[in-house]
């Protein structure tokens, strides 16, 4: 294995006492000395700073970039006004998911943020299917996420304009002498922002944000428990090339015009599943006891028949109990349906629960 890549904040993480792990080829902080539980709760009550510079930031200029990318994703991108963003997926020809991403319309085209683990594949995919188009990996940009109810007040001290941004909106501005792209979105279920900054100024911006009394650093561990409570999919776990967006309960990401027109990879399967319902569906699952069910645990129906597998599972600090997501046969997807989870050879009672486990608190 080659040495993992490091983000511009690597030395800062170490200075802050982070425990570093390899994640998708990157050396990333999984937690700081306070620990995942406290970082999680802090994010839900104040604001946490996450380094998400491992994610791929891609610039795709051109007035026709929106129309072009629609040949690869099932979302209505042409409807996005400059400064608006949408969650979507690169789909395979048979309706699976290559990666999930955020597409933002900019004044000169599109700005994409893709998963760290998918960036190389995604770039190759874009270049193969959109030949001749300028597709630039913004390798000299860091990405910081400031998430939590206090995030807006902290960031507004640097850039008052952010207070007026709505959820899934994005602006470019100059603040504290830095050229920033600030988007009001995130991966925690809380109000918050992702800030794209030149790699050379990332530490300076991170220190400025951390200096606010409302802000603490948080790592990948808390990011995972926060997104799981928020019912947000993690690529490679809850979604992959074998799962369709409809199975993953992401039908809301396929807008009306695309449903009518199709014209994206896997449209045949995706439109059929929209019409007839998918054979299986990703659902929230609440184990009844205290024992967490982890990824891979078998899901059984009331009669003990195996009907699926847990794709994400762990302890939800805000829920104060175990939470999981997994695929179940369509008939068992209704909230309240009793299930059993096989954990270490034992069958633990559980129930389908509507996602998210913790209500989203976006600024709409």
């Amino acid at each position: 294995m080659p040495d993992p890549q490091t983000t511009p904040l690597d030395a800062l993480h170490r200075e802050l006492g982070a425990r570093m792990v390899d994640f998708a080829g990157w050396s990333m902080p999984v937690q700081y000395p306070t620990g995942i539980l406290k970082e999680h709760v802090w994010t839900r009550t104040r604001a946490s700073l996450f380094d998400v510079s491992h994610m791929g930031q891609i610039r795709m200029p051109g007035a026709d970039a929106a129309a072009a990318i629609e040949s690869l994703v099932p979302a209505d991108i042409q409807a996005l006004k400059p400064g608006r963003a949408r969650y979507t997926q690169f789909t395979t020809l048979d309706g699976g998911i290559i990666d999930d991403l955020i597409v933002t319309a900019t004044d000169d085209g599109l700005y994409l943020v893709v998963n760290a683990g998918g960036r190389d594949t995604d770039l190759a995919h874009l270049r193969e299917h959109l030949p001749g188009r300028e597709i630039e990996l913004l390798a000299d940009r860091a990405l910081l996420a400031l998430q939590g109810p206090a995030a807006v007040n902290v960031l507004a001290r640097l850039a008052p304009e952010v207070a007026g941004l709505r959820f899934m909106s994005s602006i470019e501005l100059e603040a504290a002498g830095l050229e920033l792209r600030i988007s009001r979105l995130g991966y925690t279920g809380e109000d918050g922002f992702e800030v794209s900054v030149a790699a050379g100024h990332a530490v300076e911006l991170a220190r400025t944000l951390l200096a606010a009394e409302e802000v603490q650093p948080a790592g990948l561990g808390a990011r995972d428990s926060l997104r799981l409570e928020a019912g947000l999919c993690l690529y490679g776990h809850d979604i992959d090339r074998t799962t369709s967006p409809i199975e993953a309960d992401l039908a809301w990401t396929v807008q009306k015009r695309r449903r009518a027109e199709g014209g994206f990879p896997g449209a045949e399967r995706i439109l059929a599943e929209l019409r007839d319902g998918p054979a299986r569906r990703l659902v929230g699952i609440r184990p009844e006891g205290r024992a967490p069910a982890r990824e891979g645990a078998a899901i059984l129906d009331g009669s003990g028949q195996a009907i699926g597998k847990v794709t994400s599972g762990g302890f939800g600090p805000t829920v104060d109990g175990p939470v999981a997501m997994g695929y179940v046969a369509g008939a068992a997807a209704e909230p309240g349906t009793p299930l059993q989870l096989e954990v270490r050879g034992r069958k633990l009672p559980a129930r389908v629960e509507a996602l998210p486990f913790v209500p989203h608190r976006y600024h709409r």
Binding site: G35, I36, L37, H40, R290, G314, P317, P322
Partner: protein, 124 residues
């Protein structure tokens, strides 16, 4: 009473034929916030090296292996309600279970406090 340590980061306090077993402070620190502990039932017979308990942090589940063979005579059921106790007092109040040893010679291969401290240096 003698205290022994294992390379799997467990400690054993041995009084007569009974060993009180827990995980070390180093282990709880590595695990992070403990949210669930699964303990063996009293009366369970275990062989040295067998999976005997499970400790789960927010992030992951970790197996606890029997540091010696014997019969479980008591489990610290208080941990089932307050698993975070493992983070607060791993080498004291948060013991996991008591084991009636079937072969005390199995203790010979274990470390004392100084040897365990030296062992931690080698894996740091």
């Amino acid at each position: 009473m003698a205290r022994y340590y294992t390379k799997e980061h467990e400690w054993l306090d041995v009084t007569g034929d009974v060993a009180t077993v827990g995980i070390t402070d180093h282990a709880q620190e590595q695990l992070g916030d403990v949210v669930f502990v699964e303990l063996p039932k009293a009366g369970t017979t275990v062989a040295k090296g067998a999976e005997v308990a499970v400790v789960e942090s927010v992030k992951a589940a970790s197996d606890i292996y029997a540091p010696a063979s014997g019969k479980v005579v008591e489990a610290n059921t208080a941990l089932e309600d307050t698993p975070a106790g493992v983070n607060e007092d791993a080498e004291g109040a948060a013991w996991f279970f008591k084991l009636e040893l079937s072969d005390k010679s199995e203790l010979d291969g274990l470390m004392d406090a100084d040897a365990y401290a030296a062992f931690l240096e080698t894996i740091a």
